[in-house]
């Protein structure tokens, strides 16, 4: 009975109900949509970061991350390979790399880069590089002295595919090793800085040049569906740790590898919740005011109900039920609008290439595909519904307090 009465009551003044419902709809819509945008961006940022030679899990020699040099290499790749192979989950890929700082130069230019030796076939399944080659070709495992560089680096050096570059770095004997490599191809990346930062050669070339024998700098494991909180990664890392001696190896998950990213995400989270709250307050004033108006108009009605013996609690219940219907209707429409918008934009994405430099500064992806997370949608709806009902208590209590006499006196 309450619900039927309440539903009819809110439509006694359709215009007013529609206005306040619009406020709720816009509020809920903006919560869902803007949150979807931010989540889309977050996921893309993590994906980019992981694809840029991070992977979900990395294994290094203990001191390597603090001091990424040749002498902090892992000398027993067989042990590592066995440990990874036995624990590797379905659909996951892994690769080994040599990764050191180096200087590349040609006749006119020189610059510092990260010099990466890769196993071309394996690496293609782990990081972005397999799909990123736009000109020339990708590396083959039997290539010798061939190098793959970023498009931006190629432009900066004013060189061409087929020309030579000299790579200089410190080898295992602490001598400066320098080798000439011929450019076989260029790759493009989401960030221009990535294109300038990395050059790739085959693993065997890198090991030979740096006199590493079969030593490697890192092993990376990648699987689809990285979890934002890194729980999946943690479980696998735990298994790997039990196989690899603690004194030599360090197994790290991506949140540990990218502490900045982790902070960025928590900053995002806080921001979303503050935003929810602010939008709610803006709505809250309207909800209270509108409900109050509806109450005062019906003072006589409430007085009469009371005179007929209705208990104050029942009146409060009635008014709150009205708010509930108002909120729920607004929330449902807002959700539908938000979800549809997110899905429509998700297909094409929002292209920010026009702001490439700004996008790069914040480390954002160039195209954002908004994406919905159930938890955000639930939080948004709960915030609006629960707080909306809480603020309705005030007008409801007001209605319950009308005495029959004063109410009936009012014309």
């Amino acid at each position: 009975m309450y619900s039927q009465l309440a539903w009819r009551n809110i439509w006694r003044n359709p215009r007013r109900t529609i206005v306040i419902m619009t406020a709720v709809i816009i509020g809920v819509f903006s919560m869902i949509f803007l949150c979807g945008l931010m989540r889309g961006m977050e996921v893309e940022m993590i994906r980019n970061n992981l694809a840029t030679l991070t992977g979900n899990i990395q294994i290094h020699q203990k001191g390597y991350r603090a001091d990424p040099v040749v002498e902090n290499s892992m000398t027993d790749p067989v042990l590592l390979e066995n440990a990874i192979k036995t624990n590797l989950p379905e659909g996951a890929a892994w690769a080994m790399r040599v990764r050191v700082n180096a200087i590349v130069s040609n006749a006119r230019h020189s610059t510092g880069v990260t010099f990466v030796g890769i196993d071309p076939a394996k690496e293609a399944r782990v990081s972005f590089i397999g799909k990123a080659v736009t000109d020339g070709r990708y590396l083959n495992s039997d290539d010798t002295n061939k190098i793959l560089i970023g498009r931006a680096l190629l432009d900066k050096f004013k060189t061409k595919i087929g020309h030579k570059l000299i790579v200089m770095s410190q080898d295992a004997d602490d001598e400066i090793a320098s080798t000439a490599f011929r450019i076989v191809g260029t790759f493009r990346a989401e960030m221009e800085s990535t294109e300038k930062a990395y050059v790739f050669v085959t693993l065997s070339d890198a090991q030979k040049m740096l006199k590493l024998k079969n030593g490697i700098s890192e092993a990376a494991i990648a699987f689809k569906g990285q979890s934002i909180d890194g729980q999946k990664e943690k479980a696998l890392a735990q298994k790997l740790k039990s196989r690899l001696p603690d004194s030599i190896y360090k197994v790290e998950t991506w949140p540990e590898l990218l502490p900045m990213m982790r902070e960025y995400l928590s900053l995002f989270d806080n921001f979303i919740y503050i935003w929810y709250f602010v939008v709610f307050i803006a709505m809250g004033f309207g909800i209270v005011n509108t409900t109050l108006m509806a109450i005062f108009e019906r003072m006589r009605e409430f007085g009469l109900l009371k005179a007929l013996g209705m208990k104050p609690v029942s009146i409060i219940r009635g008014v709150i039920t009205e708010s509930f219907f108002l909120l729920v209707s607004g929330i449902i429409i807002g959700n539908i609008a938000g979800i549809i918008t997110v899905f429509l934009i998700n297909r094409t994405g929002i292209d920010l290439s026009a702001l490439a430099a700004g996008v790069e500064m914040w480390g954002m992806p160039r195209v954002i595909h908004p994406e919905l997370w159930i938890i955000d949608v639930i939080t948004a709806n709960l915030v609006v519904l629960v707080l909306g009902l809480v603020v309705s208590i005030y007008p409801a209590a007001k209605a319950a307090r009308f005495t029959p006499i004063e109410a009936l006196e009012k014309t």
Partner: protein, 417 residues
Amino acid sequence: MMSVNVKLDVKMAWRNIWRNTRRSVLTISAICFACMILVFMLSFQLGSYETMINASVNMSTGHLQVQSAGYHKKKSMRLVVSQPGEIGGILEKIPGIAAYTFRANAFSLVSSNKRSRGVLVTGIDPEREACVSTIKTMISHGRYLEQSDTNQVIVGNLLAKSLRVKPGDELTILGQGRDGSIAATAVIVKGILSSGIDAFDRSTMQIPLQYFQAVYSMGDAVHEVVITAKSLKKVSKIKKDIQKGIDAAGRGNGLVVLDWMELIPGLLQGIEMDLVSGMIMYLVLIIVVAFSILNTFLMSIFERTREFGMLMAIGTTPGRLIKLVLIESMSLTLVGIVLGIVCGSLITLFFQSHGIDMSGSSEFMKQYGIPARLYPRLSLVSALVGPAAVFVITFLAALFPAVGIRKLKPVEAMTHI
């Protein structure tokens, strides 16, 4: 006559507002809340932008630079500013310049006993540099360079760590001179720099300019003339003045003047993006508030249909009624806005003096040159832009019910219950 009318209208409107105190207070609170948030958030954003710009400008680029055309993109050793002293003479005469200095850069292989790294070695004028950038204050170990120093070097702390050097240790530098010859020298680490920005600490190595010029056979040429302005606002004027001065001296051909927006384009675009996304959020907030209070405006008209009918019957024109109603809703808005600006400004001023602790995300912010405590900055713009937007949008919200008055017929309206 007109002024009497207006006075009367305002008086009537004001009394009408307070016919329903609770409703008016709630409406004012909603507007006040929105304005408060907007004033604070805008001050906060603008304040942190300024901090970010200043951090970048002070740390590396300066507000303006005079360079050889094309140097900024190519960073080629050969694109130099010759006779920098002459440029200095031009700069001395331009008002608004706080300080200027000269720099020269060369990418070189730097080796310690144990390690080698490719590093961009910068030649700086120690005294002038200290006036332009904050480098001198960032020395964490050892000491800053002095004017009389020759083969001394200051190194970023992460770079020092990876080279495994401390003050007093020797480094060898191997690079290419301006004329293509080999530039090689041994230098002593004098000081270690810690800025907190990893990219900077990992890549900075500075030696005295004169020594740099000798080692890299630069003659007296430099690559960058770095200029700081007394304030950010004066930059565009100073830029024009410098350009004029250079042209007048007949050096306009090979040289360009770049401001910080051209030197660090990412910073400006990043700020613009942040600002635009902020604007979208604020707009949503204002629209939600507008719908929240639209009912008040609607009600204040519909519950008075009879009253309006009577006023029309005794000769009030609909136009005047609309005016009256608009004055009502807009004074309500104005009270809210003024209160909002006052509250927002007070909150902003409080945080402006105390700062907001961002230490939870300090690692992240540090990389953008944002310190762990952020200070919002109240300005005329940040205090007024948000409330002005609120005013415009609430005016539209008030207009919609008000024009409905025109359709009222006196007789029907008077019989309305």
